[in-house]
Amino acid sequence: MKTDVLVVGAGPAGIKAALTADRAGADVILIDESVFLGGQLRSQTQYFSNLPKNIDSGLGIEIYNELENQLNNSNITVFTNHTMVGSFKNGNIGVSNGEKVLEIQSKKNILAPGAQEEALIFPGWTLPGVMTAGAAQILVNREFVRPGNEAIMVGSNIFALEVALLLQQCGVSVKAIIEEQLNIQCKDTSKLGEIGNIPIFTSSRIKAARGRGKVEQVIIETPNGENELYVDLICVANGFRPILEPFEILNCEFTYKKGLGGWIPKYDNRFLTGNPNCYVAGNAAGITDLGPILLTGEIAAWNALGEIGLVSSIVVDKKIKNLWVELSRLEDEYVFKERLNLINNTSAIKY
C-alpha cells in the first residue's frame, strides 16, 4: 500500500496533521490502535478555550466531533484497530489489526502516538478499583459507567481536579484529594473553587490499599498522622509521559527533558526526528495542552508536505513561521522554553 503521508495515532495531533496534508492534496493514511478515534480528547468533557485561531472553544468531545466531521469530509484513508508493529528493511511500515499485517510505503511519516499516564506504585496498587484518572474519565464519558461509589483522587494537577469534579457530578462521593507535594499543583483557582467541599491533603501519600479482590480500604499518611478511608475507587493522576515505541522501532534518537515529560524523541525546528522520514507531533513531542498539540500536528504536516514537494518552500516557510508564533503565544511559558531548548540542541543532527 502506497501513500504520501502516513500518520500514526489519531488523537488531536494526528488528525490535525492528516487534515493539513489532505487539504494540500497529499494521499494520507491515518492509523490508530483503538477502535475509537480522537484519543483522550474523545472522552473529555472539560472546556478548552486556549486554542489556535481557526478552532472554536468548547468541550473536548465537541472539538473532537468537529475534527471527526472534517475527517469524514476528507479523502484520508483511516484504519482504526490497527497498530504500528514494526518497520521493514526498506523503511516501509508494518501495521496490524492482530490478524494480518499491512505493509505501508510512505514518503513521510508523522508519528503522533500521544502520551501515557504514569502509574503510581504503592502496596495494593494492582487491586481492581485502582485506576488512572484517564481511565475513570473514559468510563464515565465514553462507556457511561460509574467507576465506583466512594473514591479518592491521588494528585492535584488540573486533570486530577477535573476528573474528581466529574466523578462527583456523577454521584461518586470523592472523599479526599491526596497530594504528595507541599502545595496543590493546579494553578487554576476557579477549578479549586468548584471542588470546594472535597478535602485536600497536601504533603500526604497513600501508604497502602487493601481489599479482597478489589479496593475496600485505603490508608493515607498525612502530616497529622494516618487516616483510614473506606473507598472502592482510587484514581491516580500522576502525570503523563510521551509514548516512545514507534520512535524506537524507527531508530530515532532520544533525550531526557523533564519539562517535556521525561524521555522524548529528539527533534529539530521542523519537528523532524533522528529518522529523516519521521516527524513527531502532539504529546509525544512534549507533554502540553490541546492548543499546542494541534499546532505541532500542523507544523509537522507542512514540513512533510514541503519535503515531499507538494507545497513550495516559500509557502511552507510562511505557514511555519505563523504557526510557531501562535505556538509561543498558546503554550505554557516553561514548556515552550524547554521545547526551544531541545530544538536548539538538536539542530546539530546530520543525516
Binding site: 490502535e33 483503538s34 477502535v35 483522550q40 468533557t45 468541550l59 468531545i61 501515557q116 499516564e117 502509574a119 494492582t126 487491586l127 481492581p128 478499583g129 485502582v130 485506576m131 488512572t132 484517564g134 481511565a135 475513570a136 473514559i138 468510563l139 464515565v140 464519558n141 465514553r142 462507556e143 457511561f144 459507567v145 460509574r146 467507576p147 465506583g148 466529574l166 457530578q169 456523577c170 479482590g213 478489589k214 472502592d232 509514548i243
Partner: protein, 107 residues
Amino acid sequence: MEIKQHPILEKTLQDDIYFYFNDKKMKAKKGQTVAGALMANGILEFGRSRKLNQARGLYCGVGRCMSCYVTINNQYHIISCTTLLEEGMKVYSNNSDPKVGRDVIEN
C-alpha cells in the same frame, strides 16, 4: 453502575446487548467496550495474575497496561478495554497461563 443520566453529555448509549461472562448472561449497551460492559455489571475483577494469583481489572483504559486481559472466542489475552462488545460474545477470565501448547497438539 450504569450512568443513565450523564451530568454533561445528553446522548447516552441506548441499545441493549447481551453477552456472557464466565458463562453468566449479562446485559450491556451497544457501543461499550468489554471492560466497560463488565464494570457496568459491577464486575471489577476480570481475572487473576498468572504468577501471584492476584485480582486484576481495568487500570489504564487505553490498552497499554495489560491488566484487563480476558479470553474471547478462545483467544487468550484480549485487551478488554480496547475491544468493542458484540452481541452474544463469550468472555472468560484469564486466570492462569494459557494452554497454548496443548491446544496446538490437540488440533
